[in-house]
């Protein structure tokens, strides 16, 4: 980071700018040091040595365009937003130079220039405010809270804490866990044939009425689509197996209709 150029904590905005030749050189060297076109514009504006409110936006536009031209001549990579700003300033310049068109409903060149000057002034103001804020006496550096953490240990109580950042990160972690997962067969989403057999056998003892296959799925396996699919597949296979053993009856009205199961009746009532 080109601290010398950017460190506003040591350079209030009404400080006269350094030698312009030095600054011009810095501009050449430090394209990457600027935090975007607005930052660069603010730097250029300071070279005008006037109150930001009295700045010549036309001159500023020219300074900026000259900078961009020079940077390109030096084959420096300029990020797209610098070029967008250049295009906008070229347009602004033309609007400032040409006589105002008939009322076309768009803001005039002067209004746009005032808007830009305002943005620069506001950014500068915020930087000064930030510097003033950081220069204040600060807790733990200039003034202190009590050093010892407790006075009386009459009744110890554990207080659990968590910050909002912890909470948000916790949620983010849970919701994106899948994104990180390496490509592995996810065993936790597979309901095995053995599990299904065991479960169905246990349930079928009491299943006197017809019940949909889906209603026999275990809790926790019905909502997540992957788990549900696995549970249905293994339960279906298990049902076939049990039917073969004569323990359950399976009914389906037509192709792709829901499957119904019930315990096999040995009085011959099955189909």
């Amino acid at each position: 980071m080109p601290e010398a150029v950017l460190d506003l904590e040591t350079q209030p905005f009404d400080t006269p700018p350094r030698d312009q030749a030095v600054e011009a050189e810095m501009l050449n060297v430090n394209v990457d040091g600027f935090e975007g076109p607005l930052d660069l514009l603010l730097m250029l504006a300071r070279t005008q040595k006037v109150d930001l409110r009295k700045i010549s936006v036309l001159q500023l536009a020219e300074q900026y365009l000259a900078f961009v031209t020079e940077a390109r001549a030096l084959r420096l990579e300029l990020a797209a937003d610098y070029l967008v700003m250049a295009a906008w300033l070229t347009w602004l310049k033309s609007r400032l130079l040409l006589p105002p068109p008939h009322d076309d409903g768009e803001p005039s060149g002067d209004e746009l220039a005032a808007r830009l000057a305002f943005q620069l002034e506001r950014l500068e103001a915020m930087r000064r405010a930030a510097a003033q804020l950081m220069a204040r006496d600060r807790l733990g550096r200039d003034f202190f809270a009590r050093g010892m953490s407790e006075t009386v240990t009459v009744r110890r109580r554990t207080e659990w804490t968590a910050s909002l950042a912890d909470l948000l990160r916790g949620y983010a972690r849970v919701k994106t866990r899948d994104e990180y997962r390496p490509l592995l067969v996810d065993r936790s989403a597979i309901f095995s044939m053995d599990q299904a057999l065991e479960r169905l056998k246990a349930l079928m003892g009491a299943a006197i009425e017809w019940g949909q296959l889906a209603s026999f799925l275990p809790e926790g396996w019905t909502l997540d689509p992957a788990r549900r699919r696995s549970a249905i597949a293994s339960s279906f296979a298990a049902a076939l197996e049990l039917a073969k053993l004569g323990q359950v009856e399976i009914r389906q009205e037509e192709s792709f209709a829901p499957l119904y199961l019930r315990a096999a009746r040995h009085d011959g009532g099955g189909q």
């Binding site: 980071m1 950017l6 935090e35 975007g36 076109p37 607005l38 930052d39 409110r53 009295k54 005032a114 808007r115 000057a117 305002f118 943005q119 002034e121 506001r122 950014l123 103001a125 915020m126 930087r127 000064r128 405010a129 930030a130 003033q132 804020l133 950081m134 204040r136 006496d137 600060r138 807790l139 733990g140 550096r141 200039d142 003034f143 202190f144 809270a145 009590r146 050093g147 953490s149 407790e150 006075t151 009386v152 910050s163 909002l164 950042a165 948000l168």
Partner: protein, 215 residues
């Protein structure tokens, strides 16, 4: 107040000097600032925490430790002019990036501030982690969503922020009045001649921003 409560108050409330001692001990033992309401809860029934606190503030005036107002609360803090003696207590503070410092200032002066608002002022997009760092320091927290399209979330500063920077309230931010008067906390340039000082009352947003008085 019933007769019963009245009587209780009469018999139970300790004399003012004793209440002052109690407030002193409670503030001394607490790491975080405590509001008058919190002090009241801990004092015996019928006490007047406001009056006790006033006595205590008077007593600590000019001492090595003083009673500081922090947002809605009060806490004991060492006098800033003695900071040089405490160097060995000073914790290594994380050096904040310029982006984080500016973002913090923008949130503090423009709160409640949206991400888009911060980006507009800085003219660059907010990099990953900047907000994260400030949340982690507990200097900012989520505010109300702004009732504009998309209901963007907003950020506001916390009591810990006030405590860290020794501020009584967000109204006491350095230079905030001048910035407001100059229209620099508005989202658009002052109407008409930019050199004219904006009228006092045009900053509805700011009033809104600091709507809640401490206490």
């Amino acid at each position: 107040m019933t007769l019963m409560e009245n009587a209780e108050a009469l018999f139970d409330a300790p004399p003012p000097a004793e209440q002052e001692r109690m407030v002193e001990a409670i503030l001394f033992a607490s790491a975080e600032p405590l509001s008058l309401a919190q002090l009241g809860e801990r004092l015996p029934h019928g006490s007047d925490p406001g009056a006790a606190l006033e006595l205590l503030r008077e007593r600590y005036r000019g001492r090595g430790v003083s009673v500081a107002r922090i947002g809605p609360g009060w806490a004991l803090r060492t006098a800033p002019d003695l900071g040089f003696l405490m160097r060995r207590e000073a914790k290594e503070t994380r050096r904040l990036s310029r982006a984080a410092i500016e973002t913090l200032a923008i949130i503090a002066y423009h709160q409640p501030a949206t991400r888009a608002g911060i980006e507009e002022i800085r003219g660059v997009s907010l990099s990953r982690g900047t907000i994260d760092i400030l949340l982690d320091l507990e200097w900012i927290q989520l505010g109300r969503r702004r009732e504009t399209p998309g209901r963007p979330i907003t950020f506001v500063t916390t009591v810990a922020f006030l405590d860290h920077f020794g501020l009584e309230s967000a109204r006491d931010l350095p230079g905030i009045k001048e910035l407001r008067d100059a229209g620099l906390l508005d989202s658009t340039p002052p109407p008409g001649d930019a050199e004219e000082d904006g009228p006092e009352d045009q900053d509805g947003g700011i009033e809104d921003m600091f709507g809640d008085e401490p206490e």
